[in-house]
């Protein structure tokens, strides 16, 4: 019985981690900054490729993963500087720009790195409970997801940078007129977002097949999670992921993956219909 219970938790944690890790970066870039980043998946891919590349060079996995996240973050800063900063006032064009970027990046990777990259294998081994064996690494992923959520909350709600960053994203001109270095803040925030995307790729790299288009597997889930989280992404993303993870897990377990997938999307439609402003709208108490 406790084995069943644990496995229930394990499955939930697994889906939850996937949703949070793939959505965290987008929560900032799209949810807060308003950039419809169609290249989100490519930053994830970048994190995965850098991780695998570094591990193949002999760098320990954890170090490689951190370096990969940093690389994705730095590339993000560069992309922000070269491309994205022109689009804060026209988010719908950011869609086109980042989509173009995504095409360029995936295909260039294919041409440069080749179509298939050899995997590096999952660390941490497995453990058994009841009749089931589980991969320990999946719990590591869950831990990382929780840590990422906590980290985001602290950075954006509790630090000086966070307050100014949120102000900038709500009204850049006004923030600037109050002295905020909005250009720098945008670049850093975008970098944090893409860095988190890179982290997602880095964390999943050992468990997945690497191809240049691998980012696509994450994209729908991440957008959906961020959007139903609602306007206040820092409050909304976690409950959104919990909600979707529960639905997905329950349907996957009872009816299989296809119903899990369709059911999750139907749930998204229904949630938005019931709460047209997203989940955070009920969480943010108005007034005191």
């Amino acid at each position: 019985m406790s084995a069943e219970l644990f496995s229930l938790f394990y499955q939930f944690a697994d889906v939850f981690a996937f949703l949070i890790l793939s959505a965290a970066g987008l929560a900032i870039v799209f949810g807060m900054m308003g950039v419809i980043n169609m290249a989100h998946g490519e930053f994830i891919m970048c994190g995965a490729y850098v991780t695998v590349g570094l591990v193949n060079l002999g760098v320990p996995l954890a170090v490689a993963q951190i370096l990969a996240a940093l690389t994705a973050g730095l590339i993000g800063v560069l992309v922000e500087f070269l491309v994205v900063r022109r689009f804060y006032k026209r988010p719908l064009d950011s869609l086109l720009a980042t989509w173009g970027l995504s095409l360029i990046v995936t295909q260039s990777m294919l041409l440069i790195v080749g179509s298939a990259v050899r995997g590096i294998g999952t660390p941490e081994g497995s453990f058994a409970i009841g009749g089931y064996t589980f991969s320990t690494y999946r719990l590591v992923l869950f831990g990382c997801a929780v840590a990422v959520l906590a980290g985001l909350y602290i950075i954006f709600m509790k630090t000086r940078f966070g307050v100014i960053a949120r102000a900038t994203m709500q009204n850049a001109a006004m923030a600037k007129a109050l002295g905020a270095r909005t250009g720098r803040i945008y670049a850093i925030s975008f970098g944090i977002g893409t860095g988190l995307a890179g982290l997602c790729g880095a964390l999943y790299a050992p468990t997945m097949t690497l191809i240049p288009t691998m980012g696509a597997t994450f994209v729908v889930e991440s957008f959906v999670t961020v959007v139903i989280g609602g306007a206040n992404v820092l409050l909304g993303t976690a409950p959104a992921a919990v909600f979707l993870a529960m639905i997905r897990m329950a349907l996957n377990a009872s009816y299989g993956q296809i119903i899990g997938q369709i059911g999750m999307l139907v749930a998204v439609i229904l949630i938005i219909r019931v709460l047209p402003e997203g989940l955070s709208s009920v969480l943010v108490r108005r007034g005191r």
Partner: protein
């Protein structure tokens, strides 16, 4: 000199399937180079026109038309997924141009314009499944991609398992693009099968192997597409593919003299090729088969070529051995081998089945020498008895 023969080739070398499409392009290029060097077909050189549909069915349609109607190619080759093949067939059917499909697939297409070069279920499953049952036991769990190929393959498995008195203890269909398998792994453990039939498709779904290994699932696996097609044993870190079994007409690990000679030529031309997969290999054969048909028919007309096929004597000596086109179904006979993958991903040929005919379509009533059905049949969708 006569103008060259135009070969129209549609292979995805961009997009999700690029890693499989690339060897297919290479196989065609190698064959054409060889044939041109040795004098061409009926003395005519071959001109290759390759377009990249990028894995998009609409592009297959556009480019199919372009090759057939504008470039007026003499033969059309290509397509990876069954959907891309189905996108092309209505277009090809309205011309008199032959079309070669060079993949193994779920079988069942009965169409006079199409010649299938790959292996089909009766060649792959009726060898693999009995072997797996005998070796590992009667209980199988199936994970399959949730589309025609996966579903029809699963149907074949059900049919064969029933004949063998085995039991399908679970069947799970996975939507294309899904990459997370924790639940599946647990479902498998719950069902306690003796072995797994893995007909998951695409890079995302391939993540299953790594995740199953990480969870220490440790079950024997069988497949009709792993190793020879997606070369997962080269792409994953051992031992993710340990204990995988597959049957096919081609593995790069086959080391007969003919095969070795062929591999040498290939790698000389494409030194970076990670693996010569069966699709690439079949694509190579397709051109030789085309050459054989044209030369025997002394004509590049489909009708004349089909007359040759009808004689049952449309054969070539391929690296796997001699292969022939079955007159009724226009599918190809193959020398089938069963391999196993070891813990270090070493591949061992477990069994050589000799030549197996693509008999199923003929048995259920497809006879292209008499009637062009233009349909695709499955065990649960059989031709109407007329």
């Amino acid at each position: 000199a006569e103008p060259p023969l135009k070969v129209g080739l549609l292979e995805d070398v961009s997009g999700d399937l690029a890693f499989m499409g690339m060897p297919k392009l290479h196989g065609s290029q190698l064959a054409i180079e060889e044939i041109n060097k040795s004098g061409g077909i009926l003395g005519r050189q071959i001109e290759l026109i390759h377009l990249d549909p990028q894995g998009d069915n609409a592009r297959y349609q556009e480019f199919g038309r372009r090759l057939l109607n504008r470039d007026k190619v003499d033969v059309l080759i290509g397509g990876i997924t069954s959907a891309s093949r189905e996108a092309l067939r209505p277009i090809v059917d309205r011309t008199t141009t032959p079309y070669f499909y060079t993949n193994q697939y779920e079988g069942g297409v009965c169409d006079a314009s199409m010649i299938s070069m790959g292996a089909v279920p009766e060649q792959q499953f009726s060898t693999l499944i009995p072997w797996m049952v005998e070796k590992f036991g009667k209980k199988v769990y199936v994970i399959a991609a949730d589309y025609n190929f996966g579903q029809i393959s699963a149907e074949w498995n059900r049919k064969i398992m029933k004949d063998l008195g085995g039991e399908v203890v679970g069947e799970e269909f996975i939507p294309l693009g899904v990459s997370q398998f924790a639940q599946t792994i647990q479902n498998i453990q719950k069902a306690k099968p003796d072995w797994l039939l893995t007909i998951n498709v695409g890079a995302a779904q391939d993540s299953f192997f790594e995740q199953a290994a990480a969870a220490n699932l440790n079950l024997p696996m069988g497949s009709s597409i792993k190793v020879m097609l997606g070369f997962e044993h080269k792409r994953f870190k051992p031992p993710a593919l340990n204990n995988m079994h597959a049957t096919a007409n081609w593995f790069e690990e086959i080391d007969t003299p003919e095969a070795t000679e062929f591999k040498k030529r290939w790698h000389a031309k494409f030194p970076d090729e990670l693996y010569i997969n069966d699709m690439g290999y079949n694509a190579y054969n397709a051109l030789y088969m085309y050459k054989a048909l044209v030369e025997k028919a002394k004509s590049i007309k489909l009708d004349d070529m089909r007359k040759v096929i009808a004689t049952g004597d449309a054969c070539i000596d391929a690296p796997e051995g001699k292969v022939c086109i079955d007159p009724k179904s226009q599918h190809t006979s193959h020398r089938m081998r069963l391999i196993s993958v070891g813990p270090k991903h070493e591949v061992k040929v477990e069994k050589d089945y000799g030549t197996i005919q693509p008999y199923w379509l003929g048995e259920i009533g497809c006879d292209l020498t008499k009637k062009n059905d233009k349909d695709q049949y499955t065990p649960s969708h059989l031709p109407k008895k007329s």
